[in-house]
Symmetry: C2
Subunit: 350 residues, 2 copies
């Protein structure tokens, strides 16, 4: 005999071909769909026993509201965007894992959106993305997080966002600060305490906020301990391995070499290792090296690289959590602290 076309009124069909809708729940529970809606949205305006009855029913039936329908009615999706330019793979992935830690079970999902911030119309590309998808909010990862034009655009269209950056540069509830200044200062203190006085510095690009902060933090901490680096000991590079190689060649070619080098990230530190290897300079006996990121690379290299750890997964977790909080609940500025991981790439100068 033909199967029932309408769900029978009297029974609770735990297994249904067609997924349950708010109407099914309302009918089965004997309440209006508006009441079910209130429960879905955690409105306090529902009697406790009604709430419990309906919630039990939803669990039994395996009901979960359709994000498409809710999104249409709310005029806003349940998607969080992650916008980034070109950080290292490990950084991106850790940030994603962190964000997903916070999103799991919340009904929100993560949509990734890499872009090219050197392209003239990238801000417009991001605008189309967030506007068309009606995102609930966006995470801005360095270096796009540092772009005032991007933040201004998002603000102008009323799009919620959180910026992850080395220093605060927006309203507190829109910032996760990574304090790169302090991380670099810790390196300076460490190298000075080992006895190093002639120190080299390989920086990232001068227009990256992270690079500015790491450079500033390092130099000012050295200064506080009475060490002033001459210009010739500071070389700007591009955060890449290849640029690190080129910078190291410059820094290590003179007849008097520095006894230690701090690199703005691990990739460039790997470049220093490469040049040291080629030139027969022993790390750490003749040259101490410190990186920044504490990437997997740090432990793959020989000798294992002393580096500043940034808890990127934590950062992502915090940023996503801020985005899905109720808007009226203004949270204080969130931050995450870097700290130096000691390995075998440093020792007192010979």
């Amino acid at each position: 005999m033909p199967a029932a076309k309408k769900t029978p009124k009297a029974t609770v069909p735990v297994e249904m071909k067609r997924p349950a809708t708010i109407n099914d729940i309302a009918r089965l529970a004997g309440v209006s769909k508006k009441t079910v809606s209130r429960i879905i949205n955690h409105s306090p305006l529902v009697r406790q026993d009604t709430r419990e009855k309906v919630e039990t029913l939803m669990r039994e039936v395996g009901y979960s509201p359709d994000p498409l329908a809710r999104g249409l009615a709310f005029r806003r999706s349940f998607l969080i965007g992650m916008v980034y330019d070109n950080p290292t793979a490990q950084f991106i992935v850790n940030m994603q894992y962190g964000a997903l830690d916070s999103l799991r079970g919340s009904g929100f999902e993560l949509v990734v959106h890499p872009c090219d911030s050197r392209s003239p119309d990238y801000v417009d590309g991001v605008r189309r993305f967030v506007q068309q998808q009606k995102l609930h909010g966006v995470m801005l990862v360095p270096r796009v997080s540092e772009d005032p034009a991007l933040a201004a655009m998002l603000d102008s269209i009323g799009m919620r966002y959180v910026r992850i950056a080395a220093v605060s540069m927006d309203r507190p509830e829109r910032m996760v600060v990574t304090h790169d200044h302090d991380g670099a200062a810790e390196v300076a203190d460490y190298l000075q305490s080992l006895g190093h006085r002639d120190i080299g510095l390989i920086t990232g690009p001068r227009d990256y906020r992270s690079s500015i902060e790491r450079t500033g933090g390092f130099l000012s901490a050295l200064q506080k301990r009475g060490i002033e680096l001459p210009k010739s000991r500071i070389v700007e590079a591009g955060y890449t391995f290849e640029s690190g190689v080129a910078a190291a060649e410059k820094l290590l070619s003179g007849k008097k070499r520095p006894t230690a080098v701090f690199c703005g990230n691990d990739e460039m530190a790997a470049g220093v290792y490469r040049v040291a290897m080629r030139e027969g300079i022993s790390v750490p006996r003749e040259l101490s090296v410190v990186g920044y990121d504490d990437s997997p690379l740090a432990t793959r290299l020989w000798p294992p690289l002393t580096s500043v750890r940034r808890d990127t997964r934590d950062t992502g977790r915090i940023a996503a959590a801020m985005l899905i909080q109720p808007e009226d609940d203004l949270r204080p500025l969130a931050s995450v602290r870097p700290h130096l991981i000691l390995r075998d790439s440093c020792q007192p100068p010979g």
Copy 2:
């Protein structure tokens, strides 16, 4: 004076506060919304001049259809899911970039979903994810792509998917094959041609398809060239750096060492480097080493590591493209070929 509440009939408002809807376009163009809908969905049942008129208007107004509304009506979202377990960061990121290459401009977006395939209810977690989000399709990345239970579940709920794996294990239109067998065979041929006869092999876990294929491809190619590896020359490891270190310690501790080692991936090859460094074994003079993946690590290590390149970005591109193709257009099985990148980690045995 108060701004118009209704859009004036006579003019085309290029800039509107409220984004244009299908109704605005229909009214402005003097056609029904159904006709506009037909144009959005590329239906052939529209007169050419009507189509052009409406398309021009849509461009002028900056109209783009709301994916939430379309999704609700279609009962299917415009989201592609990417499900993966725990590959390396570079692999994940490249796969994402590739997928996004294909999705860009298509109206589809990429939602990432890492999971833990060792967890007993992970298949159920994926089911909830794809079902709740009403995904358009999912990309299954190794190693979850190899799980028959996951594929069966997706099939049972009618969810479209593409599996990326070392060999074909599903209907052709659901596979992107990476031919790891061939990549490993190329390594075997190369090492043999250099003159190596006593060769070590560090494999990934025996229950990974990629590992099975790489091991099989390597051994059978050696066999074809008359080389049979004794059991003692084959060590199973876990695709991680640490497991590579442990495997290398076993392989290199005996009094007669192999003259070359092939590792199932670069991470484990880095482990071999580590042990060789510690034991004072010179690579490549005393030991040739080959990896698989051609990850960034391969060029950071010293000496630069010879490794098999897999075009992961291409793989992601193909998989995503397959998912957003019209369903009636059955494409042949897609595949991507690995090839060996020669660097400085190999030479004829001393």
